[in-house]
Subunit: 363 residues, 2 copies
């Protein structure tokens, strides 16, 4: 199956190495010490060394990311959440943009409803995971409009960006295009660059999945042409997509494809038992002889991606599974045990987080 990876569609098997080659995404020469980097879940970068220098020299930098307030916050959102918290701890000022204008334009939902989801689902989980109010600008696209100075800059930037890109270039970056996509792409460029209008020129890291790379490429192309602003070139990193329970895409519209942060431990355990795609063999004999395949085993992937932060323990599990010592059901039970521990702790933190929400909201 040919893969399609762009802001509006992700499907098929993704060959990350080929993507890196085709689009000039670089491996890391230096990276922060964090599970996501160590385990190559974050696999590539553009201009990331600039951010490493800021971290090492304690120079200011910005992390910019957006969230589309739709549905439940689930494990598929964890990679970005963890990176926000990591970079905040490493000294970044966080620009956490609720793409409510985008969501509103796409789905015509109620702005108040979108606001509620953004706060109760997303922000609350970020706080529970460790986001701090200091150096965090949690804002709504639609709210940039409430501050004359910021909003003029914000919306003008989309308009000015439009003047620094040709139709051919848009076509080359996005493929099949239409006015709604162009409009959305320009707003994304404005999202990515506007922290530099507010802070002044400053290194900016945008952690994304490859589907968002067209926006990064467009923003980077435009930065070079808007010389009047003295923008510093945008840095980006690329993380893999967390597979859904059944092995394909994790989709907000299919609850059997994800584990939500608010799933009860019973439901979560049941989802792993019933739905998690296994890398085990067809029979006990075959499994003992050939061993399991951790690369395609969803339980193992969830351990690797965050449930088992201890590298040695993870390596042991991998080795035992591969050798056939550890059975598929046993691996699932290990995952379930850690998952329950994780969810119980997280849900406790979520309750505490509710009281901290106000510190993040200025309006």
């Amino acid at each position: 199956m040919e893969s399609v990876v762009n802001p509006w569609e992700v499907k098929g098997d993704i060959n990350y190495e080929k993507l890196m080659q085709d689009f000039g995404i670089q491996p890391f020469s230096e990276k922060p010490d964090h599970l996501l980097f160590r385990r190559n879940i974050i696999y590539g970068q553009r201009d990331f060394q600039r951010i490493m220098e800021c971290i090492k020299n304690k120079q200011p930098f910005v992390l910019l990311t957006g969230l589309m307030p739709s549905g439940k916050f689930h494990f598929g959102h964890m990679f970005v959440a963890q990176q926000i918290i990591l970079y905040q701890a490493l000294g970044a000022k966080i620009y956490l943009c609720v793409a409510d204008v985008e969501a509103y334009n796409t789905r015509l939902a109620d702005l108040e409803e979108l606001r509620k989801i953004a706060i109760e689902e997303y922000l609350t989980n970020y706080i529970a995971l460790g986001l701090k109010p200091k150096n965090c600008d949690f804002y709504f696209q639609s709210e940039r409009s409430r501050d004359a100075n910021k909003s003029n800059k914000y919306y003008n930037l989309a308009g000015i960006a439009a003047r620094h890109v040709t139709q051919n270039e848009i076509n080359a970056i996005y493929g099949e295009i239409n006015p709604a996509k162009i409009s959305s792409a320009l707003l994304q460029v404005s999202d990515i660059l506007h922290p530099q209008l507010i802070e002044g020129p400053i290194p900016t890291i945008v952690p994304v999945g490859f589907d968002q790379d067209p926006h990064i490429r467009l923003a980077r192309d435009i930065v070079q042409r808007m010389s009047q602003f003295n923008f510093i070139q945008v840095s980006s990193t690329y993380h893999k997509f967390l597979p859904g329970l059944k092995g394909g895409k994790m989709s907000s519209s299919d609850p059997t494809s994800y584990i939500a942060m608010t799933d009860s431990v019973e439901i979560a355990a049941e989802k792993i038992k019933k739905h998690a795609f296994s890398g085990g063999r067809n029979s006990l004999e075959e499994h003992r002889k050939l061993g399991g395949v951790p690369e395609i085993d969803i339980s193992f992937q969830y351990l690797r991606c965050f449930l088992e932060p201890n590298d040695k323990k993870l390596a042991k599990i991998e080795e035992q599974y591969k050798s056939g010592k550890l059975l598929s059901g046993e691996l699932k039970q290990t995952t379930i045990d850690l998952l329950i521990k994780f969810l119980e702790h997280h849900q406790e933190q979520r309750e505490k987080a509710v009281n901290k929400i106000d510190k993040f909201l200025k309006n």
Copy 2:
């Protein structure tokens, strides 16, 4: 010379009848009693009868127009100015939009400088010509951002509009297109429709030259698809372009092509004498025999377009000129006399207007 008439370029001889036929612009079945209508300077319309019904039945309606704050306010801006004042007198609420975001995006001028030009050149002249503060919303595109409620609606509308138009349609309406033009077109659609978000569904008249018709067509197409808003279809009228002094285009960048409202009477008179293209014959004998050609005579056109409001007097001048009784120099002198009277009166009114500016500004 083939003519080109679109929002970004106007050149060549314009065949208004062909434009009407090609683009489905209708003649008037009923129209207000005003020089511009009587003399067919406003020559066509879309859905104008809806506005006539509002006028006759004293129902609320909106006039929406924009101004691009660049250079001096000159005679080429008079048609729109006169229509604003006419419709205000006929009961319209005026939405007078300073396209400063557009101007800023196009030229990267200073927003404060744009604001100054909009007020000192444009608004002051509108007031001198008779614009009243009551029922007049004189606003800056960039200021819609200062009111959360209005600005969210305003910018969201451009985004939502984007989702109701295909790339093919944009190509068909605008011809050669690029992201900046698409962005600008969507902002114009938002300009045209947003009064209905603020007032509720309400008939809206947008008086334009044919160059702006693509925006009208796009807005009208989109209105039909955004059924959730219950917008009332937009009405438009079309006025001819006032020719420049030398017969071609009136261009802000060529002072010998226009008469500015702030030109001294001496300079204005000199411009008519020296530059106004004449419809007179090559020799006195020929002129007496064949008569002048008022259709191409710029002095006569300026009399017709606003300097001589008395229809009988104008008809007499036309007849005398055509018959050869009135010489080209004499016609110019008549124009100069009325021009001086007009400018002296206007400049007096401008001085009074300065004190009224505050009544139009809320910020």
